[in-house]
């Protein structure tokens, strides 16, 4: 028998591997100085307090991730970090800050009353660790992802005393396949109270779910939680034969056997948001905007200039094309 290979890695499916892309992009944005955001990036809303320990969190995480990575993954991650282009770095910045921006606005309206956050398909995202120290009234933060993904994440966290210090009783990882039933039971078993306002995040997750699974998820959450906010970030097509999305689909299949089952079905922002709007009959408000709109409307001129000058951003058209094809939906009920 062969001795176990020290670099053997549990096999991640193509969907699970996308978490390494998300992480790589984030680390690249940090190393080039896009993230964390600065006060001057926005005209009116200050989200910087959320990012106080941002660099250190991700540096620690990256450092303690290394022993858990296969050589191939480690080198892929390093390439992403070193060679990430401005369009990608700005896009990652927009994705990250637009979600936090929306969450903070919601939290402000809660007037210090208790709330909870559930990050569905969290992957290695460390949002829990910047929100928990900031908000004493954040009674529970739960990360949900496949067992293999959260196992990987917790191994890196466990290796760092700095990171484990954030992992208090208010934080839980729930290894779970979202396509299986009874998510609610396991959330409750992990300390979630369905009567407390709850923020659900699906950051580039809905796009990987089968249509029926995604719809079931929306219905389950609507049926069980009295109040909440759902934030969903995803790519979007604007017609059945959207050329950018068609190319994206064929590239992703060719390069990594990855498919996004509902992308061409919900091929407008109305069709996308209607998946929620038609289910939530107790809707208070909803908003959907492209990340390009977010860039144009929410960033200050000084902020835009800061982002552009970090590397040489040469193409606004490409940035616009790409960011128009990603949207952020927020549903409040």
């Amino acid at each position: 028998m062969l001795p176990p290979n020290p670099h053997s890695q549990p096999r991640f499916t193509p969907v699970q591997q996308t978490d390494f892309d998300a992480l790589g992009c984030k680390l690249a944005s940090i190393s080039h100085g896009y993230l964390p955001p600065q006060i001057k990036d926005f005209n009116d809303t200050n989200i910087t307090s959320l990012y106080e320990n941002y660099n250190q969190l991700y540096q620690e995480f990256h450092a303690h991730l290394k022993p858990c990575l296969s050589r191939r993954l480690a080198s892929k991650l390093n390439t992403t970090i070193a060679h990430s282009l401005p369009v990608m770095n700005i896009g990652t910045y927009l994705r990250t800050v637009s979600i936090d921006f929306t969450i903070i606005q919601y939290i402000h309206q809660l007037n210090n009353s208790p709330f909870q956050i559930v990050n569905l398909g969290s992957g290695t995202d460390l949002r829990a660790f910047h929100y928990l120290p900031q908000y004493a009234n954040l009674t529970k933060f739960i990360d949900v992802d496949y067992p293999i993904s959260l196992d990987f994440k917790s191994r890196a966290i466990d290796g760092s005393s700095y990171l484990t210090s954030f992992s208090t009783s208010r934080y839980s990882m729930v290894p779970w396949d979202l396509s299986k039933g009874s998510l609610i039971d396991i959330l409750i078993a992990n300390g979630i109270d369905v009567a407390i306002p709850t923020i659900f995040i699906t950051e580039c997750v809905m796009c990987y779910l089968e249509d029926s699974v995604a719809n079931q998820l929306i219905q389950t959450i609507k049926a069980n939680f009295l109040h909440g906010l759902w934030i969903s970030y995803d790519p979007i097509a604007y017609s059945e034969n959207d050329r950018f999305i068609a190319m994206m689909n064929s590239n992703l299949i060719e390069l990594r056997n990855l498919s996004m089952p509902t992308l061409l079905k919900y091929n407008s922002i109305d069709k996308y948001s209607n998946r929620w709007v038609s289910v939530f009959d107790n809707l208070i408000a909803y908003k959907i905007l492209s990340l390009w709109d977010f860039y144009m409307e929410k960033l200050s001129n000084v902020g835009k200039l800061r982002l552009k000058n970090l590397q040489f951003l040469d193409e606004i058209e490409e940035l616009k094309l790409m960011q128009s094809h990603y949207i952020l939906l927020s549903i409040r009920w």
């Binding site: 892309d21 998300a22 990608m88 990652t92 050329r243 190319m247 590239n251 990855l258 040469d314 490409e318």
Partner: protein
């Protein structure tokens, strides 16, 4: 020697360092004799950004005819982003060396040391040669590329656009162009500016060059006795776009830009007499064996 390099590019074979230096040196000797603003006759085929998409450049030549019996004007941005910047640039230099009067090469904002370090050409050379000397040799050539051209005394061709410092074209003729693209000033503007529905000169969202509107174009054309500005620099999904009642046109010749954008490309064919014609084409993809898997074609996942 030139023939051999041509065959190597065609076959997708490695090109020896020495051969690259030789091509670059000869190109430099030729380009140094050219004016900042060239004079080009019709008929001519005007081509926009190429960005290292060598296989699409071959398609462009196939669709529009051989350099041996056609006149071509390239508006710059030969390198970066695509996987074959070096081969694309060398191919154009070979064409230029073989048919100096049939080929005009203008400098784009990507023909610069600073930009190529961020956008891929530098990394490509490092990958292919293990050192950056070839990149350095190409950058030397960049410094000698012309800044603009006037086709048939009517059409001003430039990579980016106009500059508030250039009312009369003679001002552009007087620039000392043999240098790295500066961060501001007339030379920078020619390579970086964009047309937009603005009044007056506006700050460019790119952080270099200016945005200029219809009245700037009218004034410039009037002052210099010209009819039209033809430029590249901006991705247009349809391959070309006319603005300001046709007084300015953007031509984009990199189909499915970055193997990701899904756009078509176009060239502008200007005949001796009569209207210009745009010929649209789609991407050829990559080499027969497929594109390199690593790098590029990134998405937010």
């Amino acid at each position: 020697m030139l023939d051999r390099v041509f065959q190597q590019i065609k076959a997708g074979a490695h090109i020896e360092e020495e051969a690259v230096y030789e091509v670059c040196l000869r190109a430099q000797e030729l380009l140094v004799t050219e004016a900042n603003i060239g004079v080009v006759d019709t008929p001519v085929i005007i081509c926009g950004d190429l960005h290292g998409q060598l296989h699409d450049l071959w398609t462009l030549f196939e669709n529009n005819g051989d350099v041996s019996d056609n006149r071509y004007l390239f508006l710059g941005d030969f390198v970066d982003r695509g996987f074959y910047s070096l081969e694309s640039f060398l191919l154009l230099l070979l064409c230029k060396l073989r048919y100096p009067d049939r080929v005009t090469l203008l400098r784009g904002n990507h023909e610069s040391r600073q930009i190529t370090r961020v956008y891929g050409f530098y990394d490509e050379v490092l990958r292919k040669y293990g050192n950056s000397s070839v990149w350095r040799a190409c950058c030397e050539v960049f410094d000698y590329l012309a800044l603009g051209a006037v086709v048939d005394g009517r059409i001003f061709c430039v990579h980016g656009g106009l500059s508030p410092e250039i009312c009369e074209l003679d001002r552009a003729r007087a620039i000392d162009r043999k240098q790295e693209v500066p961060h501001e000033g007339a030379m920078c503007d020619l390579l970086w500016s964009d047309p937009e529905q603005v009044r007056g000169w506006a700050v460019s969202p790119r952080g270099a060059g200016y945005l200029f509107g219809r009245s700037q174009v009218s004034a410039f054309l009037h002052t210099n006795g010209l009819d039209q500005v033809a430029r590249a620099h901006q991705l247009v999904m349809e391959g070309y776009r006319e603005m300001f009642g046709g007084r300015l046109v953007t031509v984009w010749s990199a189909p499915n830009y970055c193997y990701r954008c899904g756009n078509v490309a176009a060239v502008m064919r200007v005949p001796e007499a009569g209207e210009a014609e745009y010929r649209v084409f789609e991407s050829a993809g990559g080499p027969a064996g497929g594109l390199p898997v690593r790098g590029g074609r990134d998405y937010f996942l």
